[in-house]
Symmetry: C2
């Protein structure tokens, strides 16, 4: 049975399905694609042609020897467009342009005080972006991804009462940025962005991953079933607000009920060192002390790890992740922190949940934020629906 | 541009996409389907014909008045097949046959001691199933879903060291059942099954739901992003093994660190009542005492609710669910239990996470288990891939 199917429906959607097989970046022949997809070579050839026309595929390798035939292999054309990725912290902005494989083409980091409010900060960021995008065709920009250091209502991209971002509450970030760049603008909190970046870069085949950022405060980005989970109001991952279970070995008296973000964060660690007579300016100095073998700093950091472990043990019993990644400035304290976390997680969790669990330090480095912001946009731009639309427009 | 697309590829997959629009059970005209899908009427008509041939759609209403034309509306044919749904508890088995809308066609509950081991129990269950399926065509059975009271490795359907199921460890349930019924056999733990049943029955539009079963033990089924999350080893939702945070109002001394399942379960509640001089035989009697206004029983149940609330507050801050459903035999203690849970969840969670949160009692009743087992099979049977295969076979 053959039935006519029109462009705009099954034709482009078949092409989108084919492109899905190539998003891992590996070049493949038409025969390989036919075998992988279970679709006939004739249909694969038509879909490849449609994707080539839409500039979403490129030929790989030299011309074949048999005369005028096109090269044998095709691959996803990650240079079919660019993404603007912005990672805003409390005191600095990192702005990057990436291709559609989240590879950074150009990047810059500048000091930026988020408390200046959304218009001044975003104006400055977009001016930087203009500079970075300078030589590129405006039409090549496919989207803007922005990470902000506070709770975001993901569906609208609006910050919700972010404590360290005065003036940003309910500000329409996508609309404001959209006036300069008429492309999709996606906004999420910095921790979700970091989770996406770490997942994309280091653990693409892992479906269940928890990224924990330990910096001034503490938060988590949760990937379950391969998907970043934001929860019903965008509040998922707010583990810094969890009340820490009291345990007999805790240095805090029973009476001092507290939330994780108050004691085990960078803020909490600095306060405890000061209360033990060690005047540190900030978390960088703590990291230096730990690296130098200072026993009090090591003890405080390890205890912070234990408190984080108490909360992560509950996360492990609830979600059974395959990987927990520890990131943020405090993570640079390294093994002392991880040892405290591991000690409690393995003690408090059932064997089934920990038998294949890895608890590791973040590998993504300084560019994790922009990498995650780019990944968020790319996963949105390269949905089957959007690919099908692009194919339909090009045919 | 028109391109030929063959049966077995985009033809059936287009039909599968169309059927997806009809799985809510509502009848629709071809014009409505064309508008909903953005596909031309010609293509919609071809897809409807393919789905009618595969018996996945049925006409709704009477013949139209304009002579020989077919009726205007089509709907998903939920009677295109049946599912065998089995809910095994420690001491009883419920076996049902449902249609593809998880509507129970016939059901029976019989006493069954799971400790008899897998072969005797499954033989007995399958004999019951034979009786229920009696008059039906063997070809109409699309799959078997089984809920078991213990941890299950979902990919293989094998129980993993289930404490109350001697002889079941690593037993190949799908293979054993497959010898009697040559259809897909899916197995999951009873709590995940109940979560699916509750989701399907009462909260189909909610993406983030946590179902908590409080019976002899305590466990949770977690739906995040619309999908049941089993975690990396199938261990997600094991909240009964979480160490309960000590708090100042707790009746337990600080020294008595304990897990939730030991104190707030039916088992734990019965033990506490006995230690307070009230000799109850089991949880049914506790429920009766609470209903009769016994102050000690009410106090113990409310305190169990508070302990569950301590753990659920952490789940709320981690996952930000829209709905928490409380089920299991202890849930019949009603408001005393829910009041304890709500008291702590609202005290310990951030406002963003609780502003739209509902904490409710299970509505699904005695048939929740078989309903969930059927739902698990139906969501597997009606994937786009399987629908496309069925369409291709029928064309």
């Amino acid at each position: 049975m053959r039935e006519p199917v029109e462009s705009g429906s099954a034709g482009p959607s078949g092409a989108a399905e084919l492109l899905g097989l190539l998003l891992d970046g590996r070049p493949r022949t038409r025969s390989e694609l036919a075998a992988m997809s279970g679709v006939s070579r004739v249909t694969v050839a038509a879909r490849v042609d449609a994707l080539l026309r839409a500039d979403l595929l490129r030929y790989v390798g030299t011309e074949s020897s048999s005369g005028g035939r096109p090269p044998a292999q095709v691959a996803f054309n990650a240079d079919a467009g660019v993404v603007l990725a912005v990672d805003l912290g409390a005191t600095r902005a990192t702005v990057a342009v990436t291709n559609l494989a989240a590879e950074v083409l150009t990047v810059t980091t500048e000091p930026m005080d988020i408390a200046q409010g959304p218009e001044r900060v975003l104006d400055a960021v977009l001016d930087i972006a203009d500079g970075l995008l300078g030589g590129m065709s405006p039409a090549s920009l496919r989207g803007v991804g922005i990470g902000l250091p506070g709770a975001i209502e993901h569906t609208t991209g609006r910050p919700v009462s972010p404590p360290i971002m005065p003036g940003w509450d309910r500000f329409g970030v996508p609309e404001y940025v959209g006036r300069r760049f008429a492309v999709p603008v996606l906004v999420d909190n910095d921790v979700n962005i970091l989770a996406l970046g770490e997942h994309e870069l280091s653990w693409p085949d892992v479906d269940d991953l928890v990224f924990v950022k330990i910096a001034t405060g503490i938060g988590a980005g949760i990937i379950a079933g391969g998907v970043l989970q934001r929860g019903s109001q965008g509040g998922a991952g707010d583990i810094g607000h969890i009340w820490v279970p009291y345990n007999k070995d805790s240095p805090w008296p029973v009476e001092e009920e507290h939330i994780l973000g108050d004691t085990a964060s960078g803020r909490g660690i600095v306060a405890q060192l000061r209360s033990r007579g060690i005047a540190v300016a900030g978390i960088d100095e703590v990291v230096t002390l730990v690296a130098a073998g200072d026993p009090v700093a090591a003890d405080v950091v390890r205890q912070a790890g234990r408190e984080i472990g108490e909360v992560l043990a509950m996360v492990v019993n609830t979600l059974n992740p395959r990987v927990i990644v520890i990131g943020g400035s405090v993570a640079r304290a390294g093994e002392q922190l991880l040892a405290g976390i591991r000690e409690i997680v393995y003690r408090r969790s059932i064997p089934l949940a920990t038998q294949d669990l890895q608890i590791v330090q973040s590998r993504a480095g300084d560019q994790a934020g922009v990498l995650g912001a780019a990944t968020m946009v790319i996963r949105d731009v390269l949905t089957p629906e959007n690919i099908a639309d692009a194919v339909a427009r090009a045919s």
